[in-house]
Symmetry: D3
Subunit: 340 residues, 6 copies
Amino acid sequence: MSKIVTFGEIMLRLSTERHLRFSQAKFFAASYGGGEFNVAVSLANYGIPAEFVTRLPNNEIGACAIKEMRKYNVESKNIVYGGDRLGIYYLETGAGTRGSNVVYDRANSAMATIPKGSINWEEVLKDATWFHWSGITPAISESAALECLEALKVAHKLGITISSDLNYRSKLWNYGKEPDEVMPELLKYSNIILGDIDTAFFMLGKDKVNPNYQNEKTLPFLYDQLFKLCPNLETIATTLRYSVSASHQRIGGILYDGKSICSADIKEVTPVVDRVGSGDAFMGGLIYGLLNDSKNKQRALNFAVAACCLKHTISGDINLISLEEIEKFLSGNASGKVSR
Amino acid sequence: MSKIVTFGEIMLRLSTERHLRFSQAKFFAASYGGGEFNVAVSLANYGIPAEFVTRLPNNEIGACAIKEMRKYNVESKNIVYGGDRLGIYYLETGAGTRGSNVVYDRANSAMATIPKGSINWEEVLKDATWFHWSGITPAISESAALECLEALKVAHKLGITISSDLNYRSKLWNYGKEPDEVMPELLKYSNIILGDIDTAFFMLGKDKVNPNYQNEKTLPFLYDQLFKLCPNLETIATTLRYSVSASHQRIGGILYDGKSICSADIKEVTPVVDRVGSGDAFMGGLIYGLLNDSKNKQRALNFAVAACCLKHTISGDINLISLEEIEKFLSGNASGKVSR
Amino acid sequence: MSKIVTFGEIMLRLSTERHLRFSQAKFFAASYGGGEFNVAVSLANYGIPAEFVTRLPNNEIGACAIKEMRKYNVESKNIVYGGDRLGIYYLETGAGTRGSNVVYDRANSAMATIPKGSINWEEVLKDATWFHWSGITPAISESAALECLEALKVAHKLGITISSDLNYRSKLWNYGKEPDEVMPELLKYSNIILGDIDTAFFMLGKDKVNPNYQNEKTLPFLYDQLFKLCPNLETIATTLRYSVSASHQRIGGILYDGKSICSADIKEVTPVVDRVGSGDAFMGGLIYGLLNDSKNKQRALNFAVAACCLKHTISGDINLISLEEIEKFLSGNASGKVSR
Amino acid sequence: MSKIVTFGEIMLRLSTERHLRFSQAKFFAASYGGGEFNVAVSLANYGIPAEFVTRLPNNEIGACAIKEMRKYNVESKNIVYGGDRLGIYYLETGAGTRGSNVVYDRANSAMATIPKGSINWEEVLKDATWFHWSGITPAISESAALECLEALKVAHKLGITISSDLNYRSKLWNYGKEPDEVMPELLKYSNIILGDIDTAFFMLGKDKVNPNYQNEKTLPFLYDQLFKLCPNLETIATTLRYSVSASHQRIGGILYDGKSICSADIKEVTPVVDRVGSGDAFMGGLIYGLLNDSKNKQRALNFAVAACCLKHTISGDINLISLEEIEKFLSGNASGKVSR
Amino acid sequence: MSKIVTFGEIMLRLSTERHLRFSQAKFFAASYGGGEFNVAVSLANYGIPAEFVTRLPNNEIGACAIKEMRKYNVESKNIVYGGDRLGIYYLETGAGTRGSNVVYDRANSAMATIPKGSINWEEVLKDATWFHWSGITPAISESAALECLEALKVAHKLGITISSDLNYRSKLWNYGKEPDEVMPELLKYSNIILGDIDTAFFMLGKDKVNPNYQNEKTLPFLYDQLFKLCPNLETIATTLRYSVSASHQRIGGILYDGKSICSADIKEVTPVVDRVGSGDAFMGGLIYGLLNDSKNKQRALNFAVAACCLKHTISGDINLISLEEIEKFLSGNASGKVSR
Amino acid sequence: MSKIVTFGEIMLRLSTERHLRFSQAKFFAASYGGGEFNVAVSLANYGIPAEFVTRLPNNEIGACAIKEMRKYNVESKNIVYGGDRLGIYYLETGAGTRGSNVVYDRANSAMATIPKGSINWEEVLKDATWFHWSGITPAISESAALECLEALKVAHKLGITISSDLNYRSKLWNYGKEPDEVMPELLKYSNIILGDIDTAFFMLGKDKVNPNYQNEKTLPFLYDQLFKLCPNLETIATTLRYSVSASHQRIGGILYDGKSICSADIKEVTPVVDRVGSGDAFMGGLIYGLLNDSKNKQRALNFAVAACCLKHTISGDINLISLEEIEKFLSGNASGKVSR
């Protein structure tokens, strides 16, 4: 089976336990995560050969990130080394009316300072079937954006399916360029996009439209505009999330393939063990679903929503859920009985 | 006050904390539990002299189990020693849409390999008033089933009340016999049975009937069939559990004494700290209620449901709840205010 | 900006983690808290100069309490030293239908044995704008009650605003006097009182009236009786709390300023991380609101309710919530989204 | 086999882990210990029926102490209940050049406030063969001293062997009496005393003599003076401890039986996991040795020294060492190889 | 570079922390280890392609073992699945005069019940340069011994270097055969043996000779007898360990290549963080040294001793030490300065 | 009493516990430290008003550092805010033959990017009696060096005593200047220098001389050369450290005041709980000694050595040792007995 390649940054995540505030913590739980890596782990868990490409510092902390990749069966052989540090994010996990809080410390990371041309994309992608990236990579630095563009060009040339998670983070994009100066060039290669309509419009330099995702009549018209802006686009999907509280989410999804809308029922997710990475879990599920049966968009969407829901029960960025567990969820068996 | 004796297996429980998956855990919480032991602890907590009989390996891990029994005031003097190992079960505690997961590693335990005739039941039961066992013991090995039968014969001869929890576990029963080859002989001594109607029918070799526990008209007819199959049966009860999610259960119960049906109101149980052992907590509560006032079946059932609900707030297999706490719950004071 | 002074006892809090019962705990989490100290921390967090006055033992455990005060920016320079021990309370955190349980071990503490006249209140209060105390201090010992009275007289003489939290704890008041022998003399200096009507009546030697806080018509009449008994009273407020379970509270509030009633909408608080100190969080919020804009009683009440709700998400007695977080809550943004 | 009874106080021990200072600790390890209880556990571990008598508060913390006793097989049936609190001691474990630090908070404990005549000593001691107490009990309060005297009178009358650990703690003895006003009356019943010569002289109102324990010629003369002051004395023993650092002790012992001196070789003990309770471990070993073979004093002393050494490797007050482990140590096998 | 293959059992290790006794532990640290796996990790750490072959149960606990292998870069592709359980060993880590204690619970493991012919050794070994096994594998069951023999025959046929660690464990060998019935047939293929002379003689059915490893004159004569019994033997080495206490070891080594004796200086190792797996660290170091420069036996021995010493500072079975750290140690830089 | 001001960087320290390697750690202990801050804490512990000046990021992690300062009574009012991040260092604590390992991640910290002129030194130092800095600050960036120079000029002008710790770290000094281009200008203001002779010569652009600190005859000559290069120099001191292993240090010190040499006896320090910050503890002790009695250089040196030794028993960078504990150590009472 040919492999999937994802490209982006992996960070050290330092989180407080048991809802402690940063100032109360004598210990930070240390784990490793990042949007595109998280997608690779999902796919590896579903039995798909998955590879993650990034740049890591050549020190013990970078070595920990590598060990985490290996542990979860993500190929790391094309990672390049250099730079000074692994990016960090601090996480204070909220509860109820208090949302979780993220403090980024990822500037000047090995990945953000990746020299253009570091990666031999022809070599990396020669036996790949899918390439996945997200809007975080072009947001962290100009050189990362350029490396991403190079990857996209090669992937496109090789006929590899390209999926993109828009992942807009306003705290990033600090290197002097706006998303609409960078993203249109990158998104034009995308076959699959994950993100809401207004984020897509914003990144493509268009005005907000405040879409009503419940109105399946007006949606195709809006989506069609996006299809025009992204000539290779075949499928666009969005998670629909209603945050009742930090501990209670309502999760659904919607997908458009240029012809029709699929939507997935809203699921109640409570309590939330950890919601970080739940969008990546959706993305991983969507890729798996489309890889597995590209015709059955509804099933791919349902699979993505199930993966997203189950991720909320897992501590850490990565979605340690098996195919069997998602199938059990999809078959209506989500009542949480003890398996024994 | 004369004692209650329970007979079965106690295991080392190795569980992950904070909803971690097995692969994320660097530590397993170590505790000790098993259905019949759990019942004995409940009764000891309510002030009833309780004794647990089993077979333990003569090593340090077996000694830990003994210390746990003593700590919670369960008599251990008639335990026999031998065999190679204490059985283990691994527990991954779920949350929300992800159910808890149990991995058994209990084959070849000291209890499973108990030689027939290891226990002098005449001696053990001579000053007992009640004997409790469950369907797990005859499921683990033929010799355990035989020892259980011996205990039942002696208990019956001595006129001791016998209670049985059906506790069907499909992952057990691996030694070549089916439940309906073994259980009818054992259940015929039972005065009280805990379990749902279809499990009882299955174990007695009858067809499933899919009982509707809300229909109090049809239930007596079904229960009466069981009474015919178990000539000593006086009371049969079932927990009614609706699993909204791994973190939210709805708990009620129903009881039939050969004459009329009692049912207990459904209680909301959320969040669930630990649901393992909640059936044993029900059993312990039912025994206490019947011991305390054998006429008041409704109160015994209510007590059992209260114990079952409160167990869900306790970490570990055993129900560390006092009589006063159950009384407070029964008096309508379950709103969880701080006691100070 | 002139400072706020609070006076009372700070204790070592020894609590079990993860809902463990006392008998299961090999570790107790150690933190430091007490009603009036908790109020001081709230105010310090909102940027108000706050000072806590108490008596501490001159040993390493008292030194830990001092370090906690400093850490959270509460002035400790007027604390006096002496006595034998820091008071303790043990806390077993409940869940769902099992309420939390507090075991006090605070008798004979340094604060309870404070010799009359230990504190130079003229000096302490000379640059203060507000003095806060609660009904716990006069409940722990006669000398503490006398020291409190002295503080109130000086504060009143200096024209400082005085707030009082009634905080009736039936397990205290063991030194031979009843609340209505002590509290009327103390409460007569109060400008602001926090507490429900019946507690106030009880402490002032009046009969219970079972007020209906939903009936805004009858309330002014009842409150006006309190205003007559407390000649300096300007504002009285109460939290309205409905305990669905130990893990789910519904929180509102009501305030009367001698002219009209303000009430705040009920908020759902679930899950509850820690409800101890939530009344103190309300008090701290109320003081802040009144300090900040003494005319806008409704806003002060809303602020107090918001602070109380958010406190339930914080582990420990003290309300580690910033002004910005409360403002975000008040602006309707309590849905618990990740901030990143 | 007839039982041994020990009488004294059991406390909650709150200790920091990993050599943390009190101010660094967010958690205190909670365990239960006290000199005479520790001796009872040692004996229970060696297979001797052991009972501990004390007074406990009738609350959840007292219940934890009872559970600890049961766990380690110490009989608790004659414990009386009452009073307000379980005594506490805080422990900061040192290392190297920094010694451990104990902060007592045991005043007004249930045991210190035991009313005279609380315990029916005739009943307690009727089937006992040995009674053990220490100088801590008469040091904590006058009523504890009186209860101790009553126990000694009954024990003496019943012909039970009485052992006493002098255990002088200068921080106690705060109730207005000096040791030499109380101890002579109590020590006169002793058959076995553990303690150094000068402590004994001090407690008996004699001047210090600075004994040289290496000089086996002068020792009998000094010991004989003690024998004259304690008419029932048969054996006196002392641990010899040289503290190289908090992590390195050198341990020996000396014993005199009125006729000759036995001494045990010095053993190197490094690292020290926990030295609290090592004197009690010596005492427990000495009692076991004398019980087992009252003629072989040298062997009893060696056993006591071995128990004391091994205790230093055990975390907590109590000496969780088996007979087999002490025998292995005595047979020269103390090299710390892995047993597998 | 061609790979090294090791074959044996990997177990779940459940150990107490901070020198706690089993009965004190509420948590067991969970890690994964086993002699031959430990050797593979050492080699992977030194940059050698290493593969581990075993049989694992097809459950979540087996999956954890696989993840551990991957994390530390040990190839797992030829592992076979089946059987019921992962073997376990419990470890209580000693200190000073109290040695560590191991309780095995490894009977009936997936590896012990491996059906003969489970592994296609021709395929596994086709691109290998070295095969390593130990005396534990033939000790656990007859079928494991047979599978080991098959591996040895294939390895020998393919001209692969074979190393053997004698690793005699008297608690194993319970399936009815004695070592001298099984080991001679297996050891005859060995090129390198690790073990002391008397263990080798015992396994080969010869009498003990109590060799004096300090006497380099008599050693060649004794070793030459072993060379005669093992026709393929080229090198034999032994660790020399003097156990001062559980926390202090003195470590050296000796090696004979049929011509001359090499010996390595004794190193002081204190404190001991974890001595389990230190023999495997020696073996891993020896293999690396001989692979790297087969002529320089002295350097290979020094490398092995260095690896063994450094292992004692690492928690867990596996030797997480890099080539650079060993080189630093060998260059005399073992003084433990902070690297910064 | 007038205050001492120290200036430098405070970092988040992320360390593994129990000697774990980075790759084994699921948690990092989080504490806050840095050379000049550590000195300020020492002085605050000894009762000296101490202030720390630095630049912190205006985020939650910077706020944690502030809380740590306050907790340990270090004034923080002149700290400036800005920049992106708090510097980090990762620490893997070694044992025995494995040294501790530090990985720096402090580039681009708020302090390293401090804009020149950020701090109003006239204001900060107006009521100070002492200013302390170290060679780390000019090593991290040019602007930090310039700010340091400005502080020194102002301090010198105000007649404040200036102490300097050379603290050479080769991994820093990456901004394009060598120590001898920067340090001579800074060191010329120093009244007290801590560091070894060769480091001083190196920083001042002189050749190494390999001083023999045991030869008190040649030392004055070498030191006099330094006095000539630093016109304000009055006292120079060095720790003498012999690293037996990561767990065993031998600590002494030497001091020269332009007239004569003082030396302090070597102390054995074993085990080492944490050696990071032990040089800062020496510095803090030296400042205290000289402040307290500037004539008694020998006593100041002894005090510094005692502080350094005791620091090795404290976890974390900062020396949580009281004046009383150092006095006890100096009076020869370092045998580590339990204080109770």
